[in-house]
């Protein structure tokens, strides 16, 4: 990794941590909160691409493991990896990677703004919802033992929020393409 890649990954890790200052919202029927931090995961993917955004999430996970309260609501510690939400937490790394992977392939600088925005949106939806939920729901169903159906149905409550996040991430991705195209050519 070049120094720049490392710094950019650390920067987005910090953005994810900073988004944790917004309080999590717990819905009664599922032990996983709605959090703004997954917006950071999507933005990382869209802005940094696959590799660097996955590293960004891994850095956050290291901080969590040390015991720093970097998850929304001041949570942290090794316990976060054996909680009902752990599937989502681990899934963040894959979600960022998938979002970045798709962004790198779908978006080119010679496309129109609309095409770029829509492509980023799709990338964030697939990475940040389809891939992420696969990890989250499976873990929730088996580890937290609430059953696949209930885990699935419960997680649908996150959809509206996550669609909005994907949209915001797409806007950010597009704005960065306009305002800071120095980001290395996506490989």
């Amino acid at each position: 990794m070049s120094t720049r890649d490392l710094v950019l990954a650390a920067l987005f890790a910090a953005i994810i941590v900073a988004l944790g200052l917004l309080p999590p919202i717990y819905l009664g029927f599922i032990p996983v909160p709605i959090t703004a931090q997954s917006l950071g995961v999507m933005m990382a993917g869209v802005v940094l691409g696959a590799r660097r955004s996955a590293v960004a999430v891994l850095i956050v996970l290291v901080l969590v493991a040390i015991g720093l309260p970097v998850l929304s609501g001041g949570r942290g510690g090794f316990a976060a990896f054996v909680a009902p939400t752990s599937g989502f937490l681990i899934g963040w790394a894959f979600a960022a990677f998938a979002t970045g992977f798709l962004s790198e392939r779908l978006v080119h600088s010679d496309q129109s703004g609309l095409v770029q925005t829509v492509s980023f949106f799709l990338a964030a939806m697939i990475g940040g919802i389809v891939v992420l939920y696969a990890f989250g729901i499976l873990y929730l169903a088996f580890a937290a033992n609430i059953g696949l159906t209930q885990a699935f149905v419960g997680s649908m409550a996150f959809i509206p929020g996550d669609v909005i996040k994907a949209f915001v991430a797409a806007l950010v991705g597009r704005a960065v393409m306009v305002g800071y195209p120095l980001l290395p050519v996506r490989i």
């Binding site: 720049r4 309080p23 290291v62 040390i66």
Partner: protein, 202 residues
């Protein structure tokens, strides 16, 4: 996380960074094993004492911890909505204890010490060939540096809005925030290279 290093000479300042980080790690583990209320109360009080021993004036402690404590209170209240009060109390105590201890550790450990320890811890991982320990340390140090920066930049941008009589909206703040921090990141990467700090790669 908000609470960065505070100059001082308390017992905790003098304790080895390794011991502090290891205790923090252990606490993050142990706290979630049981839900015995009296025990949790005792642990929480202990961490509060430890935090007090750092030597921060009460008022400053309050401003530092307020944001994170508010979100903890929020979590506890929400737990209370759908769960027995016992669960809410357990959540409140666990999170508060962890937060206080983590705050005490970050307040008495400099970023340099953090980086050194994380680097040492990651050293064995180098054998896998996937990571460079120095990079792991540097990355953690950079995050600790960036978080307050991002928050400060958020304030600077709201000020820039205010100074020009503009309303602060999430969209008009998030986009410049990201672009500006990206540019900063580039400059910082340039500075790291220019100062020859990542010599282990070249």
């Amino acid at each position: 996380m908000q609470s960065l290093y505070v100059d001082g000479d308390s017992a905790l300042h003098r304790l080895s960074p390794r011991a502090k980080i290891f205790s923090l790690f252990l606490l993050g583990f142990v706290l979630f094993l049981g839900d015995n209320l009296p025990l949790l109360v005792i642990v929480t009080l202990l961490t509060a004492l430890i935090y007090r021993s750092v030597g921060l004036p009460l008022k400053e402690s309050a401003t530092r911890l307020k944001p994170i404590f508010l979100t903890i209170a929020f979590v506890a209240l929400f737990t209370l909505l759908f769960n027995p009060w016992h669960d809410a109390l357990v959540a409140l105590l666990r999170l508060t204890a962890l937060m206080l201890f983590a705050a005490a550790v970050t307040a008495t450990t400099t970023i340099t010490q953090f980086m050194d320890e994380i680097t040492a811890l990651a050293r064995p991982l180098e054998r896998t060939g996937w990571v460079k320990a120095d990079d792991v340390g540097l990355a953690v140090g950079l995050v600790l540096r960036f978080v307050p920066d991002i928050i400060a930049r958020y304030h600077a941008l709201s000020e820039a809005h205010a100074a020009r009589g503009l309303k602060v909206r999430p969209a008009t703040i998030l986009i410049p925030l990201i672009i500006l921090t990206l540019r900063d990141a580039d400059n910082i990467a340039a500075a790291i290279d220019a100062r020859g700090i990542r010599r282990h790669v070249s």
